[in-house]
Point group: C2
Chain length 336, copies 2
């Protein structure tokens, strides 16, 4: 084990796109666990759109990361040293280890005994992103067979799972993604009924054609003009699962809400903001059901892995430029 | 009874504010009821913000009024002639008689036998506006004692009832209205804890001071910048009862949604569009409870009455200029 720990520090709050100098890579001694703590070596770091929110000081669902602190991030690692009776070296644990190679913790989630999927599965379809898709769609979206479900960022970590869950529930599922290649992937590999490239000049007409009976559920990951196109087509008592608004996370100036906001009134729609951390007490329910679907191949998942802690800011940018498909992970070191 | 019926016809769709010539007053013979129909003379015509929506051809919750048709409107009248076994001359009926002095109908609501309030009560607190306040606040807002409820258009027909219902449920109730005089009225006569004039230069600070524990429920009648000020202050799991967006009904160009739209995500808020016509099957429940509160004086109501069918377009404009308080009615003729 080396003596030094590399860490990304939030040096200043980004204005617009993340720029060089917003985050700084520094070295610090690897700390020793105190009584009740353990030290884990991070194998995978989760990169998520919400990381950009944490870098800002806007009103948000967790405290923002403070300037000078290690950047926050979800991690999966292996325990190296332990002064905690519940964790021993070699245990695989997930938690919020942050953007660093080694993290001290006094609490973390252990993989369950029956875990037999590759480790990246527990950072994607079986982790927070899978739970986001599962609880958001099933609890708030309440899909009924025959309804039309639209999913933005359909090739992404959450969207790709949402669409497959929608198909399992008998919905007509229409994805929206940022390239023809992603759209083919979503239809051919994830089984969506259709997928539309929002960069197409005829996107609005294509959305009409793909949703001949209107839209009953929108699983919203993006916001912006795509959300307006969707709201224009919602049916009576539509459900809008407001999971993310990535289109505006890098904005320098205030971003207007959807111009078709009044449609929420006219169609008596139900819009609900949703953060997966509210569902932690129900994770076992998700875990049991999803593991069955994944093991049987009914739910597929996709992971993009970038290697090396020094790549973290550039890799995060892929989420905003459409450079990844599926769950984006940074691999910091080898699996045990 | 005269031979001719005066009617307001929608001559063209208004662009922005309603202008002279958008509606035309014409005369037509009073029709004879056919088998199964009756003819009612209108006493009161309800003037509501939603009338402006019906004049437009935007996507809406009922078909728009067609060009050349009598303008749609809720009415309370007295049966004059009947070929319908269920209605006899002298019956007081409410329905959608439109902007005209006489209307044929084959269906209408009769006042219940125990009705003993003045007739305008059945066009306001005991009618659609009262039901809007009742079902919107109780069913969607789900007020709990100690929560903070904000009501825009607080001196209006719906808002004034919403705030009183909120007080009955133990909420801290903050109204928003367009003049200091209206605000005094709302606090002194309707018992709101506070009421703020949104035209005040220090409105945002006043809203902070009036809502020291944040905002749990927003009964939204207005939209626009006021809604942004409210969204900036909502608490976790806030409810937004989206009942009206009068700030944008006269807009000539697309109106952006709230700039603080992302707050709905961050605070996991529940926003629901609401139209009272969805609750028709539960009107008896409303009627029973509200009549008790009105008769005991626990719920007060306020009516502005303008006289004469020819005044209809000018009177409707009062809703958009803040010229009325409480329910706005046009009186077309004398009560029997």
């Amino acid at each position: 084990m080396p003596a030094m720990n590399r860490q990304w520090i939030l040096a200043r709050r980004p204005v617009g796109d993340i720029a060089a100098g917003d985050l700084e890579l520094r070295e610090a001694p690897i700390p020793e666990p105190a009584e009740g703590e353990f030290l884990a070596r991070t194998i995978y770091l989760s990169l998520d759109p919400t990381n950009r929110i944490w870098m800002s000081d806007q009103d948000q669902y967790m405290p923002p990361v403070n300037i000078g602190e290690v950047m926050r991030g979800g991690t999966l690692g292996v325990v190296e040293r332990s002064c905690h009776p519940g964790f021993k070296p070699g245990d695989i644990v997930s938690g919020i280890g942050g953007w660093q190679e080694y993290a001290l913790a006094h609490v973390a989630q252990k993989l369950p005994a029956q875990a037999n999927l590759p480790l990246p599965a527990y950072m994607s379809v079986m982790g927070m992103t899978g739970a986001t898709a599962y609880f958001g769609l099933l609890d708030i979206g309440k899909p009924q067979a025959g309804e039309t479900l639209v999913v933005s960022a359909a090739a992404g970590a959450v969207g790709s799972i949402v669409g497959q869950l929608g198909k399992l529930k008998g919905c007509h599922v229409v994805g929206i993604a940022g390239s023809d290649q992603k759209c083919r992937h979503v239809v051919e590999d994830f089984g969506f009924d259709a997928c539309l490239n929002y960069r197409s000049a005829s996107f609005a007409q294509e959305l009409n054609a793909a949703c001949p009976r209107g839209i009953d559920i929108d699983f919203e990951n993006v916001g912006g003009t795509i959300l307006d196109d969707i709201l224009a087509r919602i049916n009576l008592r539509a459900r809008i699962v407001l999971c993310g608004l990535i289109a505006s996370y890098n904005a320098k100036n205030p971003v207007p809400g959807p111009y078709n906001f009044a449609q929420l009134l006219m169609k008596r729609a139900h819009l609900e903001g949703f953060i997966v951390s509210d569902y932690m007490r129900r994770m076992k329910e998700f875990w049991n059901e999803m593991s069955g679907w994944v093991e049987s191949g009914q739910i597929k998942y996709d992971v993009t892995i970038v290697r090396g802690l020094e790549q973290a800011p550039d890799a995060l940018r892929l989420l905003f430029t459409g450079g990844n498909t599926g769950k984006l992970l940074l691999q910091l070191g080898d699996e045990p």
